[in-house]
């Protein structure tokens, strides 16, 4: 299996967008090598703006550019672009429903050694809570590439979450569709909804569960907002139980989004697997994934307990 970081796809797709639309402009805040927006800078230096270490101003400048007919893409680490810049994103971008695409790289605890200050664990909650904002958490490199390409056709603000760490490339499709979840494995025993790097882990956990006689349905909900209500409800009706898996706090993220749908339309038993209301910390990605229960074995165990419990 091939391994690539989703942030790499952001840089590659930006270059494509730059070619097809000369109103695309790219902004970064002194992290262009890390977010990969530098790839765009290399091709289109005149449409790239490094705003320095000033994420709040970057967000406001992007809003002004959108008000003037440009199509701005602004990136930084997820923790800064959704945190330091939050109020600007709310007032200047979302309140005016401007088509600005924000990309937060280095999301979740897979950031690793930099530690808790740099690990965005609530960025999905923050962005999801804002009216007009769309939230996309692609499952791998391929899907990130497609989502970034598609983002130019979306309306209003968009948040795309990418990761620092390399992860398996396994999604095969032609196009990213906002608001649509993909059933990657059909099953009748339990529904598992995941996003980001957790999708592949959920698939691997489902394989382990199969050996134990548990037939899990695995859904990739990369479009966290808008979420695919139909697919989730249909699956819940079939299986009678829903587990969510996300590299993010269980408060306000994918788990909450799915719970909201189920509460509204078809209440069933549910379990949220994620970060349990604590900050991240330093360590290698693998050590942290073990500690926080993001291994196929740990996920399979929790799903099994849920099914049997």
């Amino acid at each position: 299996m091939e391994f690539k970081a989703t942030r790499e796809a952001y840089g590659k797709a930006l270059v494509e967008l730059g070619k097809i639309d000369n109103r695309v402009v790219v902004l970064d805040a002194d992290l262009s090598g890390s977010t990969k927006s530098k790839e765009f800078q290399k091709q289109f230096p005149n449409r790239f703006f490094n705003m320095g270490i000033a994420e709040a101003n970057m967000a406001g400048v992007a809003a002004g550019m959108a008000l003037s007919g440009l199509k701005p893409y602004a990136s930084s680490f997820a923790v800064f672009i959704t945190g330091r810049a939050f109020e600007i994103v709310r007032q200047s971008i979302c309140y005016q429903n401007l088509h600005v695409v924000l990309c937060g790289s280095h999301s979740g605890i897979s950031v690793g050694e930099d530690g808790g200050s740099h690990q965005a664990i609530a960025d999905i909650s923050l962005m999801r809570s804002l009216p007009n904002m769309k939230v996309i958490v692609p499952a791998d490199y391929n899907e990130t590439y497609l989502a970034v390409l598609e983002s130019i056709n979306m309306e209003g603000p968009v948040y795309i979450r990418t990761s620092r760490a390399k992860s398996p490339v396994f999604i095969r499709k032609d196009r990213f569709e906002l608001g649509k979840a993909d059933i990657l494995k059909e099953g009748k025993g339990v529904t598992v909804v995941a996003c980001g790097m957790m999708v592949n882990l959920a698939l691997e956990a489902a394989k382990l569960l199969e050996e134990e006689g548990i037939d899990a349905e695995v859904i990739n909900a990369s479009s966290v907002k808008p979420i695919d209500r139909d697919t989730i409800v249909k699956s819940a009706k079939k299986t009678g139980g829903v587990v969510t898996v996300e590299e993010h706090t269980i408060i306000g993220g994918l788990g909450s989004a799915v719970s909201e749908v189920l509460t509204d339309e078809y209440p069933v038993r549910a379990l949220k697997i994620g970060i349990e209301d604590v900050f991240g910390e330093s360590g290698s990605k693998d050590d942290l994934f073990c500690k926080f229960g993001f291994t196929k074995e740990a996920i399979a165990k929790r799903i099994k307990e849920f099914v049997n419990g």
């Binding site: 490094n50 320095g52 050694e113 200050s117």
Partner: protein, 274 residues
């Protein structure tokens, strides 16, 4: 004439410890850690700061806020040398469970006065500490070390405005002016000059000195401590990666550790005083 040889000896040991720490951690920030060594050595070993390693929470201690938190390997090595904890702990940097987090965590490590890492967040806490001294009638000083790129964050200027408005003469800001950030030179990415004039316009008594020259550092910081009318800014002209020839003034070494080979070469250079 004071003898700065002892400080230089300590600095060399700290540089070596920092490089070994980063190499063992296999990640971290070499350039900005090396540029700030002499500032920290002057503060902790040059008779500038009041502290008690056996009582890190001592209420009357001077405070140190490393607003450019990514340079924490140097602060950790300095604290170990000052006796806050065992030197062996240094080799756990950035590993799971270590109190030596990738960015300073005040909850985890005694001697860290504020958690930092998100640039701009240190200076605002330093202003709070300086104001608190006034409320609590304490005589401690607050030293805040900042990066030059960090000064691009708008929040830093909000903090400076407040420091000057409240005449926080117990606040001493030291800028590690190494001219580089991550994506390139500060003057190319987002120019902050003229910096001295900016600080002065914000009401700071401002000095511009060589940041690797102990006489400059000690004299200026001693004078700054006596200032009773306004906050002080010390713009310390430094070299990112100072002390290791192949890292010096090289932007590529901002966020990477030395490889085994590079470490060997760097330690040799430091020993031979290249």
């Amino acid at each position: 004439m004071e003898d700065f040889a002892e400080l230089e000896r300590i600095a060399k040991e700290i540089r070596k410890d920092v490089l070994i720490m980063l190499n063992k951690a296999k990640s971290g920030h070499s350039g900005g850690s090396l540029s700030v060594v002499d500032v920290l050595v002057a503060l902790y070993f040059g008779g500038i700061m009041n502290y008690d390693p056996k009582n890190p929470a001592w209420e009357d201690r001077d405070r140190l806020v490393l607003s450019k938190g990514h340079a924490c390997p140097t602060l950790y090595a300095t604290l170990a040398k000052a006796g806050f904890f065992e030197r062996d702990l240094l080799w756990t940097l950035r590993k799971l469970g270590s109190p030596l987090q990738g960015h300073p965590d005040a909850k985890k490590l005694p001697g860290i006065d504020a958690s930092t890492g998100s640039l701009g967040n240190g200076i605002t806490q330093a202003v709070g500490m300086a104001l608190a001294a006034r409320v609590l009638k304490k005589r401690y000083k607050v030293f805040c070390i900042m990066g030059d790129g960090e000064l691009q964050e708008g929040i830093t200027w909000e903090a400076f405005m407040a420091a000057s408005h409240y005449k926080l003469s117990n606040l001493i800001v030291i800028v590690d002016f190494n001219g580089l950030q991550i994506d390139g030179r500060v003057m190319d990415i987002m120019n902050i000059s003229p910096l001295k004039e900016k600080f002065e316009a914000f009401g700071f008594r401002t000095y511009e000195i060589g940041g690797h020259v102990y006489k400059n550092l000690i004299d200026t910081l001693t004078t700054a401590k006596r200032n009773v009318v306004s906050p002080t800014a010390v713009i310390a002209r430094t070299v990112k990666g100072y002390g290791v020839s192949f890292m010096a003034n090289r932007v590529e070494y901002h966020g990477v550790p030395p490889t085994d080979q590079e470490l060997e070469r760097a330690l040799k250079e430091l020993d031979n005083g290249v």
